[in-house]
Symmetry: C5
Subunit: 353 residues, 5 copies
């Protein structure tokens, strides 16, 4: 079911085989636009879409799901995308990266979303060739609607710019989608800090561990993405125009900021574990104090009572008139001494200590 | 309310939209100065201020608050500042950085101050174009008054130098404002060290965690600033004159020193947590010792008393003349043995152990 | 028995001596292939195999076992492989690396497999000379069958490409074989996380430590391999053709991904140890609470009973009519007070707290 | 009182103002020497000293104390030292560094010494111009007497070499002065390791924390010094002659060694904290065992005695002839069983366990 | 007694003074060899040895002990070795390094051996000049006998190669001597892992700390050695011939492997400390459970017995026929309830939990 169990062993590199549980897309969504207009369509094959859109401004093809290997093979035939890049598209645990092939570049990034209280990860593959951008996702639903909206409305510069600006816009939308997750994580950490001080259930412990795992997951998505964006800024071979590079630099800054936040939250989550241990230790201390106070007060008293419960024939105190009252007095004195001692130690200071 | 919830999803990059809760400035503060004189004014628009001050030495415009987007749009129209830089100005969680645009450079730094016992952060954006410096802050009140004072008094070299020296002066004032905070943090850590040795309340624990969070925050502000300053020193493109670079190098040294201090305090704060745990463990040990001493002394005595409280008919000791005194002797012996044992173990050594 | 005890002290570098417990291969397995056909054979000596296969496309010789030093000496004589490389082949704890010698390159990688619940490591040495690839393994059985299958079936491009593509195919098969192990480790960590929350045996503790050791082992195998692959990509001297480099880059990406996973699992395993300690502390807390609740309820009651077990002659309560019932009432009150106190403290909240 | 509270806010960079509590030197100490002779003198002003010594071989001026700003202003007037360098001289918390100015280089290093059991730090500023070396210290007393001695005695090469060799000699004396401190720290760590195993007072805990703080302090002094020395070795601009660079390389090696030792001791000090916690945990264990052994032996015995202290009319055992002896036998059996159990558990193994 | 106390303060750099407790060698051991023959001799002075051996192939001089400063001065006079290098030779705590001087290179490495269960370190200085190799050790006895043996026997290539190959052979012998120590450390860590699970004496704790200290020591020896070897590989100035560089690269690989092992063992040793703490915590838990089980079973029973030991006149139960048996029944019920509760909690699961 996982990536590598799916990858059967006897296949040569570049073989395209759909993952077993992949969504199988029936159509390809296409945008074609230039500064004047923007049209959309659904096509049954890559060839049709390319025929419809190529050469008329910028063409953006989007494929939702990895189940239809025909589409990927068409991408190779029609647009010349490299089989290795297409194979990476199908294996959904790629490290974010940018690969330069002859005639096109291939970029992988990770999108994240919370689903059923778990951080779900989805791989987004982007192919940029001359005037054509192809995106392949694992599932319906993504964080790219803002870009689609801008294309339809003609807002911003996206329609009047070449395909690499569209690439930037999509990458920017992906990076921006990390921030709500990180802010969510930041707030969760604040909540956990409150909680950890007042209760110590296994649920809290498990939650901190999950938080750490999720932050590691995010970091594994953002760290290499930052590097890939840095490569696109520095490296002349990726074919990004200088105008778009100014924008990509902004996107790179955002990715660095997201990484900063991730690292900060990881440190804070690790610090939470320390607090958890300290609080557990405090609580134990409190339990021990109650036991100790009760025991040290009553054990001597019980001993005194035990002494006068002995059955010796010759115990002169037993016959004395005031000895019963005297014993009570002795016990009271004993108790007061102990209470004074505990008070001086500060052990009676309430549950906060 | 936070940065990215404010950033609505459907806007293209470079769109200027004020944050919801931003202060809305009514005027722009302007300085114009040269070696001979220095004048100040308040203007209702950027255009007026630029008309008043441009070409007459150096012009410094300061905008207090992000609420008035018109001002930023004017900055684009009048001074040609890049929309991306202006957009970053409005999003108040930028990573400190320096961006080179055509005709101007854009710098973001973070100012910190304590407000209601919390470390508040404010973003300061600086634009340096030919002969004009523009600063945009989030709020009234900053750490730049020393520079204003020097401009008014003509103290130092600032009036006789070009705009990049003013830029340096402002950056230097910001970096210098970190040191009192760091010294405060250093003293707080010393205080916490004292406190952690004598009490273990949740308040202390919470304070240590907050300290770590604040130091992480400072680090996130200083680390990239140091890198940005380093870039300005190395990179010929930023257009900083060699005369000013000597001063910037000094500022860079200060930033490195601030970073050194931050890292040192972070290590010490982490070490405090260890001490906290150790002290909690020591205190528990002490509680356990009291319980153990009392219990191990009295439990055997109570047993002896219990034995002679049994009601067997044939217990010859009960009738003996001196057996009651003998039992007291036995108990005393028992107690002394135990006390000697504890003494040898060093458990009676007082509360310091 | 270990590597360096085997290496006797008085031998000059480049001396070939088989490890004491090495498998001694009787034959050499050989493939010779070109785009049209692929033949296999078993040969008794390197010379025969080379005579049979050289110059007829690509020749792949595989030696299973380090026990037959004659074969290695023949490799030196027949193919000119450097004595230092051959010596490294025999010492089975090499760091993965790539060494460029005149006329051939030498690569060492590590293969891993689980055997009897322990991670076993096997060294694979690869020599690439013009048109000839030689592999030397420690034992029968490896992760390279998928490549053999492709050679036999003529699947993929491997038959129509030069020897460096075969090298890539083998390296790729090795790197791919890490993923099932890593996925296994990831699942083991999830299982351990479950287990650590509910039980604290030494077995769990030992398992976490072993897990950390195994992940360190994997990391020691993957980290330098990634560097070696990076060297082969950058370094012109290794003689890898640009066509194959595109594939090697893919393999390099996989190695980086494997390394990422290893690092993530190492962090999670370290975090598990924290959870273990926290859970142990929780459990102790629970034990202490039971003791404390029982003790603090019964110790005062026992004291009361002890008081009325005293044998003083003048204890008026003893003669009163309802004092026995009254004592029971007092005890009940005492108990209820305690239970209420514990309830308020939340100590009666069940085993989850 | 600290550095930045002293630095008043309204001063431009390069303003010289003495720290409030600085020693105020009355004279300047001067050496002038060449291969033949060496003379010393005390002068009231820099101008006099320069007039006396310049051009007659090498001139070394030493100023003890930061209180006399006139001297620093003279350094600017007479020798052309840069105001920023002079300002750094007055602010006594500089990071060790080397700054190249036109006509001179400026070096800051830190000297350390133990005073009243605290690690005191003193800043030493060195200015190297053509044939003149100026040093400024915070206080009387330093680690440079060995160099003065060699100058007076004409020992070694210092008198026959140019001023940069004197600079090297002083830096070497400073770096060498770190080693006794580090060796002291190493021995203290050994002592603490002994102590931590046998006692757990707060004093030990506090001492470990102080040790970590001091090592961090040393590291903050040595780390940037090593970098500064590295810069002087690599960078042609500092004007150090190749002959002297060979010596500086040696000094650089020593600084790296000092840094190595600091890092090692930091790791060991961190490990001591772990040991402290483990030992505290061991001691607690021991206390608990004593309590448990005493309690588990006597609580059942007390119960038995309690049973036969009951006052039921129909308790046949009470009348039996040997039941008292039998009860003692039962108690003995009970005790032996428990002792055997504890023995098997290994809990009676003495205080070492 | 330590290095820097020995180094008296008033000496200029390059002064040669023997350490106080140094072995004083009486003779110098010399090898002279070429491909045909190899002769050995003992000489009273460097001059004699050089006269005997120079120009007749390769000459290797070995000095055992730092006590005879005359020898070192002769090395300066006869062979032109730099005073700084000779001074470093006498100070026996050098960081491993390679220094290039005019006409010779100077290399320092560390040899380690176990002596009385402590890791002893010895400094080996190597000087390589044209056709002459000089080694200076602190003591008799080293790990270089395999090289001597090969020289005498003419095994391997060492006799037919120039002096830099001898240098390589010696460095290789030193690096190889680290592996048995590291394997020893690895086995010790395995033994400690076993031990830590079953006992918690201070000895174990102390041993883990010592292990960490020793590994740090080894790392301080190996890390800079690896860098020095890397320098010799890259840097053209060291004058190592390309033929020998191939061998040095192998030696460099071994040093990296040794470093890898050191790092791995350091991580495992740190993990052992975690296990130690966890086990101590487990053991405490077990002790607490025994106490809790015994206490919670017997405390209620003792209370019941106490109740019927009261001396009230009106306690109807005391006269009933079956009440004694009934009380026993009640006690049994009570005990069974408790045992069932503990069983359900899993506290009776034996010593493994």
């Amino acid at each position: 079911m996982t990536n590598h169990q799916r990858k059967s062993r006897n296949l040569p590199p570049g073989t395209l085989r759909a993952p077993a549980d992949a969504q199988c897309p029936k159509t390809i969504h296409a945008f074609r636009y230039n500064a004047e207009q923007c049209e959309e369509g659904e096509f049954a094959s890559v060839a049709e879409a390319v025929a419809w859109g190529r050469g008329k401004g910028v063409l953006w093809l989007n494929i939702n799901g990895l189940g239809n290997v025909d589409y990927l093979q068409e991408l190779n035939r029609e647009l010349g995308f490299h089989p290795l890049a297409l194979e990476d598209t199908l294996h959904n645990a790629q490290r974010p990266k940018v690969d330069v092939y002859e005639g096109h570049i291939y970029i992988v990034v990770r999108m994240f979303r919370y689903q059923n209280h778990r951080l779900e990860r989805e791989q987004l593959s982007l192919f940029l060739a001359d005037g054509v951008l192809v995106t392949v996702q694992e599932r319906e639903g993504d964080c790219l609607d803002s870009v689609r909206h801008r294309l339809r409305e003609g807002a911003g510069q996206v329609r009047s710019r070449p395909a690499d600006y569209l690439l930037y816009s999509l990458l920017d939308a992906v990076v921006d989608s990390y921030f709500p997750l990180l802010e969510e994580a930041g707030e969760e950490i604040e909540r956990l800090q409150e909680r950890v001080l007042v209760e110590t259930g296994r649920a809290t412990l498990s939650r901190i561990h999950d938080m750490r795992r999720e932050l590691l997951d995010l970091r594994r998505g953002i760290w290499p993405l930052r590097d890939a964006l840095g490569t696109m800024l520095r490296d002349g071979e990726t074919g990004i125009s200088p105008q778009t590079q100014i924008y990509l630099r902004d996107c790179h800054d955002h990715a660095m900021r997201a990484l900063d936040m991730t690292e900060t939250y990881r440190e804070l989550a690790a610090s939470l574990m320390d607090i958890y241990l300290s609080c557990a230790s405090n609580r134990m201390n409190e339990v021990m104090k109650v036991l100790t106070i009760i025991s040290t007060i009553f054990i001597p008293l019980t001993f005194i009572a035990g002494v006068y419960g002995m059955n010796f024939e010759h115990m002169p105190e037993l016959q004395w008139r005031w000895s019963y009252a005297g014993v009570w007095g002795l016990m009271l004195l004993c108790t007061l001494t102990m209470v004074a001692y505990f008070h001086r130690k500060g052990w009676l200071g309430g549950s906060d200590t």
